[in-house]
């Protein structure tokens, strides 16, 4: 995200404390952040919340940036981290619930409470390729992350490796396994 040269100027101005530049930057990047978040969490409301978190973090961190390249990597990494926190909290809540313990982060649109056949389609239902998303999200986390970073975010293996905190060859390995697995799953599903 953020490959346009426009960003460079904005990042520098925003880093220098220019409010309008920062606003323009957030406006320009919001959709990218949101889309990336959606690829991980798979629901609009959750993705909106992740994106908002990222924007707030951006406000605190922007003054440290000197240029677009660094900024772009940072944005990927933070969006990834926040989305992962989100998923982790969702998972942790399964174990952590001891009685009525509060679950602060929750899957918002997972409404099992709303019985099947919802009266209005959710935005997710309209999305083409939902099956593929679902299969990708069902991969083991590392494989999923590698697929989403490389194929979804169009990053190089090296960039994905940096964000995931592993080596490039590990990323390639995850991708290989993931491709094989996805093939089996999607064939099995017809």
């Amino acid at each position: 995200m953020g490959k346009e040269p426009l960003d460079d100027d904005l990042v520098q101005k925003a880093a220098a404390g220019c409010e309008s530049a920062f606003k323009a930057l957030v406006v320009a990047r919001y959709e990218d952040i949101y889309r990336m978040a959606w690829r991980w969490v798979g629901s609009r409301e959750e993705a909106e919340d992740v994106a908002q978190d990222v924007c707030i973090k951006l406000a605190g961190a922007i003054r440290g940036f000197r240029g677009q390249a660094e900024f772009s990597t940072w944005l990927h990494r933070v969006t990834y981290t926040v989305a992962m926190d989100h998923l982790r909290a969702r998972r942790r809540s399964l174990w952590d619930r001891g009685g009525q313990i509060l679950i602060i982060r929750r899957p918002k649109s997972r409404a099992d409470d709303v019985p099947p056949e919802p009266t209005s389609p959710t935005p997710e239902d309209d999305v083409i390729g939902q099956d593929l998303w679902r299969e990708v999200r069902a991969l083991p986390p590392q494989q999923r992350d590698a697929v989403l970073l490389v194929y979804g975010e169009d990053l190089s293996h090296a960039e994905a490796a940096e964000i995931m905190g592993c080596s490039e060859s590990t990323v390639s390995g995850h991708l290989h396994t993931a491709r094989k697995r996805l093939k089996e799953r999607l064939v099995a599903a017809g």
């Binding site: 605190g60 918002k108 194929y151």
Partner: protein
């Protein structure tokens, strides 16, 4: 599945974000940008960075008092009071209230600040905790009790609370687990397993029938929450039956205002009225109907109210049934206040902001303007909203007033306090400072139900679910006094049945509020709050001695011959004891009623209409939950029973109920 598919992944459509959410994010980020300090870029990111939390934890571990307290707390109740974590997590910006001067403000590192801020308080808590533990002897077989229906239990806790606790307690807890499971639904990344959670839940269900010979005493905490009813109503209005886990019978019953007899004098905050009537669904059984009505302070002289509205303005609050609804609700609330009351507003959008410093209600326009301004523009970076709200409430604290925070949210606290134990512990400690917390839940997702309940339960407050403006009016205007003014707290009820008269009993509802017998007299055990004018109803179904029983005699149990009784208790079904504390007091008071034949009414239609209506609601809740005790008693019987007991129904709640029962007849599962 080909590589082409994967290469195409980045081009697959993503459902677009909503404009409101985008605007909110931009506005919040901009505010955060404005107040960000030059050092912020170097400072560690707050939020849920696990490493940082760990560091902070370690740092705190080095300071003895907190460490000790944490150990004690863990050992004592298996609760994880991660005392210091919230302050760390929240990347607190104490200066954010000073929005006009966002200049650089030096501050120590997060960790330093945590220690300096927490040490004194933690040390107090420490001593208290130690003395409590030392002072409270317990039978060796009983593990340390956990306050308030096991709120702080952890599944993998080191102490064997579960094994040694009362089976009911375990039951109630499992109920919760299953409930959460069922309403949470499967993780999207997991394979669908829709039936599993429900099945597990089905196996547990309602409070069981108990034999008086085996267990003559029943103890529970009152519950004035109403969220379940609003949720049930919403589902039925969509033509669907609610998931039975979402139906809490006592919350259905207590949703309605009842004109039970008021206490005669102000010194007793409430009065119990007991009626024994034939069970409408099983003529051999009887219902013991316990009605408690709180004194209505507004009629005499209500204390001043210091309110802090904590309003969630995060992206997910954009839809009309969330923030806009809350704004209308709070506008109505302002109109009910008296001139000397104060209102402060803190908004919370991942980062909290003070939208209004405490302002006298006489300055109504200023408050309304602040409410109107809430939405995209409202937020700034800083500490978590809930801490900011407590800070404000503490600053404006007035011992003679009622100090209350009202949190309006869809339950999604996704920034700030991310650790539920921490938040719970935080609210619990704040409760002891005399600040109450109530929760208004909005939005479509009933997951927040668990959150709201737990928050309010920990904060000595009320949880209500607000789906329409009408519901907001009920909670904040019609019942403002009970929502705002507590008259008694830690209210517990204990009923001892007379084995000479009663063979079996079961409590209808209150599954999540059961207490152990010994909790009753233990003032350390937290329980529910009664607000001014509140009506609370609890109903037991009893099987008199001689009537057909559900439980068989034990082969090795005591002979079922009726125990010899003192002559003066021969006409007693049971003995009711209520313990409670007055707000601001630490020692319980108690009241007692002996449930005698004289309280008995021989036919259902001769019973007071208020009692009959509450019994109809109880039947409805049990029917929705599919409980086995109702026999052939069905929706039509409920409609008949309720229609005959509608009374004058000034707000139309009872008429609405009758409609809901009719809807339930045709609702899809």
């Amino acid at each position: 599945m080909t590589d082409h598919d994967l290469n195409n992944l980045k081009n697959l459509p993503v459902p677009p974000s909503r404009r409101g959410a985008r605007e909110a994010a931009v506005a919040v980020a901009l505010q955060a940008f404005k107040t960000a300090q030059p050092r912020a870029a170097d400072a560690p990111q707050a939020s849920s960075d696990a490493r940082q939390v760990k560091e902070a934890d370690e740092a705190i571990g080095r300071s003895r008092p907190i460490h000790a307290r944490r150990l004690i707390a863990m050992a004592a109740s298996a609760a994880l009071f991660a005392l210091a974590v919230p302050l760390v997590l929240l990347q607190s910006d104490r200066h954010s209230t000073n929005q006009l001067h966002p200049g650089p403000v030096p501050h120590p590192s997060n960790t330093d600040r945590v220690i300096t801020e927490l040490q004194p308080r933690a040390a107090d808590g420490d001593q208290r905790n130690l003395s409590q533990i030392a002072a409270a002897p317990r039978p060796p077989s009983e593990a340390v009790r956990v306050p308030s229906s096991g709120l702080s239990l952890r599944e993998d806790a080191p102490v064997q609370v579960i094994r040694q606790a009362d089976p009911d307690q375990v039951e109630a807890r499992r109920f919760r687990l299953a409930e959460l499971d069922a309403i949470r639904g499967p993780d999207i990344s997991a394979r669908p397993r829709p039936e599993q959670g429900r099945e597990r839940f089905d196996a547990i269900g309602p409070n069981p029938v108990k034999s008086v010979a085996g267990e003559p005493v029943s103890t529970f905490s009152i519950d004035v929450d109403t969220a379940s009813y609003a949720f049930v109503r919403r589902t039925l209005n969509q033509g669907l039956l609610p998931p039975k886990d979402a139906v809490r019978v006592e919350e259905l019953i207590n949703y309605f205002p009842y004109r039970y007899p008021l206490p005669g004098k102000q010194e007793t905050p409430f009065q119990p009225t007991v009626t024994v009537l034939p069970s409408p669904w099983n003529p051999a059984n009887k219902l013991v109907h316990i009605a408690v009505k709180g004194y209505d302070v507004v009629r005499t002289q209500r204390p001043r109210a210091n309110l802090v509205l904590l309003i969630d303005t995060s992206g997910s609050m954009a839809p009309d049934d969330r923030l806009p609804l809350l704004k209308s609700a709070f506008r109505m609330l302002v109109d009910t206040l008296q001139p000397t009351d104060t209102v402060g507003i803190v908004t919370y959008a991942g980062a909290p902001s003070v939208a209004l410093e405490p302002t006298k209600a006489s300055d109504r326009d200023k408050i309304l303007r602040a409410i109107d301004r809430l939405d995209a523009e409202g937020s700034t970076a800083g500490a978590a909203g809930i801490q900011e709200a407590y800070r404000m409430a503490e600053a404006a604290f007035d011992k003679s007033a009622v100090n209350r925070i009202i949190l309006g949210t869809d339950g999604d606290f996704n920034v700030g306090i991310t650790d539920q134990h921490t938040l719970k512990g935080y609210i619990e400690r704040k409760r002891d400072t005399g600040i109450y917390l109530s929760v208004l839940g909005v939005g479509r997702d009933n997951y927040n139900d668990a959150l709201m309940q737990a928050l309010a339960q920990n904060g000595n407050g009320v949880a209500a679910y607000v789906d329409t403006l009408n519901e907001a009016r009920k909670v904040l205007v019609d019942e403002a006094s009970s929502t705002l003014f507590p008259i008694a707290k830690d209210v517990k009820i204990q009923v001892e049945f007379n084995p000479a008269r009663v063979a079996e009993y079961r409590l209808i509802g209150y599954e999540t509020r059961m207490l152990n017998r010994e909790d009753f007299a233990n003032d350390k055990v937290n329980a529910g709050v009664i607000g001014s004018g509140h009506a609370v109803t609890a109903i037991y179904e009893i099987t008199p001695v001689g009537a057909p029983r559900l439980l068989e005699d034990l082969r090795y149990g005591q002979p079922s011959a009726a125990p010899a009784l003192a002559a003066n208790s021969a006409d007693e079904y049971a003995f009711l004891k209520i313990r409670y504390k007055l707000p601001g007091e630490e020692n319980s008071r108690s009241m007692q009623v002996s449930i005698r034949d004289g309280l008995q009414v021989s036919a259902v239609d001769q019973v007071n209409g208020e009692v009959r209506f509450s019994v109809a609601v109880a039947a409805f809740g049990q029917l929705l939950r599919g409980e086995p005790y109702l026999r052939s008693f069905g929706y039509n019987d409920i409609v008949d029973l309720a229609t005959g007991a509608k009374g004058d129904d000034p707000f139309g709640y009872r008429a609405e109920f009758i409609n809901l029962v009719r809807l339930a007849k045709s609702a899809r599962p």
